[in-house]
């Protein structure tokens, strides 16, 4: 069985982003100003919870961003990610059609034959379920699994916690017991109590889901039999990619053009204002659909560059991010321009001018570092609205490729399912819940970031 990595373009970009974040963390540690602002965020308990939850989401996204190609008969898809390998194989396989959460059989009736060879209409058993259990014993079995999961989760959490205590007590030169006390009595400088509570909580939830998924489908299955929870987890990557890449693409343009327009004024200002007002006037939907269509045509004409379905879908995802970036950079540009105009009046800019510092140097050394707080606030704020926007765009039909796992696609199909009799509610609920978790933690983080970085506070 040969295994070799086959990264998608968005994988490379995601990992590049991770590297950039690490570089930024190193930069922050050296710069006392920024370190203080970021520490303020770490002192707030609610934000700590949000950060931990967000990190778990991001971790799942990263696991899903290492794609491999396995030449083996048991894998039908062309590319598999590490997440697929980590999750229980039962989750990755497909059933036939709908099934309710935590059930043992299909949702719809089909033609079955019993051991006597007679046919009847009934609910077929799902894969991995050899015998049909009574509801009561099914639930007992599942409750036992949940209990097991809780214990395993606690154990995992405890393991990490003890490791942490050891390192912490070594660095601070105090006993492990007093470390433990400090954390759980809330006396630490950062909100470590909430940090560890959330960690334990997440470990427990993940372990329970993992154990249950070995034999059952926690959130049921879709029309084509794909495990709903699996689909939801895979969609995390799509959501995060859209939330981050869009901002990353538009950031340089907004920064450079906004600060140039504000600082140099006159013709530069007029031209840049013209550009962003014109771009803002075009209805976003049109721009996005046009670019997506162009992309499709390009892909069709150069089919040899994108041999696999996943690569085509991936390029469409990146194209969507670029287009969303183009439609949303105007707001950030306007904010940066306004801030640059204010900064131009500052005495230290005047002092630099009188000392003969070149305008480019002034822009880089004085203007840009002092507009970064707006950039950070916007980046974090926009994240949640972009994730929500993706859902809407998929509905309209100009979102991601229908073959990509995304919450938008899930909600889109959910609409019709709600009209079925009996109602199929679990894909919608699953997508909504998991998306809600990501967006809520991003919003809470955004609030904290704004409080920490807004100079007015």
């Amino acid at each position: 069985m040969k295994v070799h990595p086959s990264f998608l373009v968005s994988d490379y970009l995601l990992w590049a982003l991770v590297v950039a974040v690490l570089v930024y963390v190193v930069y922050v540690c050296k710069n006392r100003h920024l370190l203080e602002s970021w520490s303020l965020i770490a002192k707030n308990s609610i934000t700590m919870v949000a950060v931990v939850v967000f990190c778990f989401y991001f971790f799942i996204c990263l696991l899903d961003s290492i794609h491999l190609r396995i030449d083996s008969k048991s894998y039908s898809r062309d590319q598999v990610s590490v997440l697929d390998l980590v999750l229980p194989s039962h989750m990755v396989q497909s059933e036939t059609t709908y099934s309710a959460p935590l059930s043992q059989s299909l949702y719809v009736k089909s033609l079955l034959s019993d051991h006597a060879g007679n046919s009847y209409r009934g609910h077929a058993l799902l894969l991995g379920n050899k015998a049909r259990l009574s509801t009561k014993s099914l639930r007992i079995r599942q409750s036992l699994l949940i209990l097991e999961g809780v214990i395993i989760g606690l154990a995992l959490g405890l393991f990490c916690h003890i490791l942490f205590l050891i390192i912490f007590s070594y660095k601070k030169n105090i006993s492990i017991w007093s470390c433990f006390n400090n954390i759980w009595q809330g006396k630490t400088r950062f909100a470590l109590k909430s940090f560890w509570l959330t960690m334990f909580g997440c470990f427990i939830v993940l372990s329970v889901m993992f154990l249950l998924s070995i034999n059952y489908h926690v959130m049921g299955t879709t029309q084509v039999g794909v495990d709903v929870l699996y689909e939801t987890l895979k969609s995390i990557r799509t959501g995060i990619v859209i939330g981050t890449f869009t901002t990353v693409f538009m950031l340089p343009f907004a920064l450079v053009l906004g600060s140039m327009a504000g600082y140099f004024g006159s013709i530069y200002d007029d031209v840049i204002q013209y550009i962003y007002i014109t771009l803002s006037s075009i209805p976003g939907v049109l721009l996005i659909s046009a670019v997506i269509l162009v992309m499709q045509v390009y892909i069709n004409q150069h089919a040899e560059l994108f041999p696999t379905v996943s690569m085509r879908a991936d390029i469409r995802l990146i194209a969507l991010c670029i287009v969303l970036g183009i439609t949303s950079w105007a707001t950030l540009c306007r904010l940066i321009r306004a801030e640059t105009l204010k900064l131009k009046q500052m005495d230290y800019v005047a002092a630099a001018k009188t000392q003969g510092v070149k305008p480019i140097s002034i822009l880089f050394k004085h203007i840009l570092p002092n507009v970064m707080h707006i950039v950070i606030i916007t980046v974090v704020l926009d994240f949640s609205s972009l994730v929500l926007a993706e859902a809407v765009l998929s509905y309209v039909g100009v979102g991601v490729d229908p073959s990509t796992f995304s919450w938008g696609n899930m909600i889109n199909s959910a609409r019709l399912e709600m009209a079925r009799e009996p109602v199929v509610w679990w894909p919608l609920l699953s997508a909504m819940l998991v998306m809600f978790g990501l967006v809520l933690s991003a919003n809470l983080l955004a609030d904290s970031v704004r409080d920490a970085f807004d100079p007015k506070h």
């Binding site: 005495d347 230290y348 002092a351 630099a352 009188t354 000392q355 003969g356 510092v357 004085h366 002092n370």
Partner: protein, 541 residues
């Protein structure tokens, strides 16, 4: 004792420290009393707690403030600190009124003056609704406003600073309060306007109004106060009758404050050689007014109109004027932050306009500027070292890091700062220290002339003198010239060889500082000098 109008006893105010359970004490065990018809002045530098003390009388403190258990403020037999919100609201504006510092921010910008004053009358139901307008008119007249009907309909931004402050005072007097609290009422005003407001307050005092006057300016307080309370770092350092206080202060802090008071006696200067560093001839700076569909220039605002002066080596020229006189515009044109409309500026004999192409190196090495506000003059995200060497890096092609460090060390020594400061950030320093860093930065390029734009106006009194001494020392050591822009006559008296008095863009008077300050010839100069509250006029008290 029993005739005291208001008695403050053991007042203690604390604020919680963010993200912790401890508190900082901002007002510590303050006690004083105000008798009916008496004016008590609270003097202190910024951060001494004087404003918070005054605000606490009407429960106007921020929500997070914690008042000490045994603090009390007795007024009319009641402890003001323990009144309910409803009871306090009845008191505010009617029995005790407040005049705040900066009228432009203290007044609601989107409501007319008339409406805002009428509001006090309405809330306390002093007069019947139909009489409100005429009452407001009368109040405005009483505070010395001439065009009462126009003022009634104006918005705060449409009035001058002095008129706004008068309107604020009218608003405070509307319900005939027993006590008037004034928090730095004249600090943001020009000296001539300030003098008029002080006259108005003196009239009120003669009519028997009790006042609590808060200021950092001892000379202004000296004009009005019967009783002085000196506060430093949240405690009362000294309190005494005004007459006794000024003759015989007891605490060292008060002695220091009194000795820092402006002295208009001009220091005699050693005359310098006639060696022109800066020559300004017929400088005009006009800003166009654009109107109409095609934005045609319909007129000009003459910010600077035909100003000429020379500065010799080692000399200090002071440009004096009030806000709007054009002195800052002159300074900015000298360093090319603004373009002159006509006239010439020459540095070291060479015209500024031709410096760009000259072989004598960039003009930046001849003249530099120290800015007014030390809090905005340094980039908060750059270390002190980087701020100082920025100019050097731009001017000198290649210079080794060691050379830079050596130069910065030399500069820091010159301005009296510790060498390790160069790796710190601006927010770690006080206003005075920041201003020294700015001076070091300006000296980095070895300029022949330094423009000082109101170098001490943002600083506390105790720091001001130290900074001026430093500047004098540097002038002696390096033989550098100064162009000193200021509205503070005392600074001129201490530092300047020559003076130029400006008003509305024009030069009113110029000459040696001794001639202009001791024997002014023009009317405006005489008014300006007469408006300055000084220790000399204390003798009249």
């Amino acid at each position: 004792m029993s005739d005291a109008l208001i008695k403050v006893k053991n007042l203690t105010i604390k604020f919680p420290v963010k993200n912790s359970t401890s508190y900082t004490t901002v007002v510590d065990d303050v006690s004083f009393k105000i008798n009916a018809g008496e004016c008590v002045g609270i003097v202190g530098e910024s951060g001494s707690g004087k404003t918070l003390t005054a605000l606490s009388l009407l429960q106007l403190l921020p929500l997070s403030a914690v008042i000490g258990d045994n603090s009390s403020v007795i007024f009319n037999g009641n402890d003001l600190l323990s009144l309910t919100q409803k009871e306090v609201m009845k008191l505010r504006g009617s029995d005790i009124a407040v005049v705040f510092q900066d009228a432009i921010t203290a007044l609601n910008p989107v409501k007319t003056i008339g409406w805002q004053i009428a509001e006090v009358l309405r809330v306390h139901q002093i007069v019947k609704n139909k009489d409100i307008k005429s009452s407001v008119y009368k109040l405005l007249q009483d505070v010395g406003i001439c065009d009462v009907s126009r003022c009634y309909l104006s918005y705060p931004h449409e009035l001058s600073g002095g008129m706004r402050q008068r309107a604020m005072i009218a608003m405070a007097l509307a319900c005939k309060p027993k006590l008037l609290i004034l928090d730095e009422p004249t600090t943001s005003l020009d000296v001539t306007v300030q003098a008029k407001i002080i006259d108005l307050l003196k009239d009120l005092q003669q009519q028997g109004m009790a006042m609590l006057f808060i200021s950092h300016d001892l000379s202004v307080v000296s004009k009005l106060a019967d009783y002085i309370v000196v506060m430093k770092d949240s405690t009362v350092v000294e309190q005494n009758k005004a007459s006794d206080f000024f003759i015989n202060p007891t605490s060292s802090y008060s002695k220091m404050l009194l000795s820092s008071l402006p002295n208009l006696k001009v220091q005699q200067k050693i005359p310098v050689k006639k060696e022109n560093i800066v020559l300004v001839d017929g400088l005009k700076v006009h800003f166009p007014i654009k109107k109409g569909l095609l934005q045609r220039t319909s007129g000009y605002v003459a910010a600077v109109n035909n100003v000429s002066f020379t500065v010799n080596k080692g000399e200090t020229l002071a440009i004096v004027g009030e806000s709007g006189s054009g002195k800052t515009t002159v300074a900015k044109s000298l360093v090319r932050l603004l373009n002159a409309t006509s006239g010439s500026i020459s540095l070291n004999g060479i015209k500024l306009s031709s410096w760009i192409n000259s072989k004598n190196g960039p003009w930046h090495r001849n003249i530099q500027m120290v800015y007014q506000d030390p809090y905005t003059a340094l980039n908060p995200r750059m270390r002190v070292f980087d701020s100082i060497v920025e100019g050097m890096l731009a001017q000198i092609k290649s210079i080794s890091r060691n050379d830079l460090i050596a130069k910065v060390d030399m500069l820091l020594e010159q301005v009296g700062l510790s060498l390790e400061y160069k790796w710190r950030f601006p927010h770690e320093f006080s206003g005075g220290e920041r201003q020294r860093i700015c001076i070091a930065r300006a000296l980095a390029l070895n300029p022949g002339c330094l423009i000082l734009d109101e170098p001490t106006s943002a600083l506390d009194v105790s720091t001001q003198n130290k900074l001026l001494d430093l500047l004098l020392g540097i002038q002696e050591q390096l033989g550098i010239s100064y162009i000193l822009i200021t509205h503070n006559i005392a600074v001129v008296a201490m530092m300047a060889h020559k003076v130029v008095v400006m008003h509305n863009g024009n030069t009113i008077e110029h000459g040696s500082s001794y001639d202009v300050l001791q024997n002014p010839t023009e009317e405006y100069t005489k008014t300006l000098l007469g408006s300055v509250p000084t220790i000399n006029s204390l003798k009249e008290v």
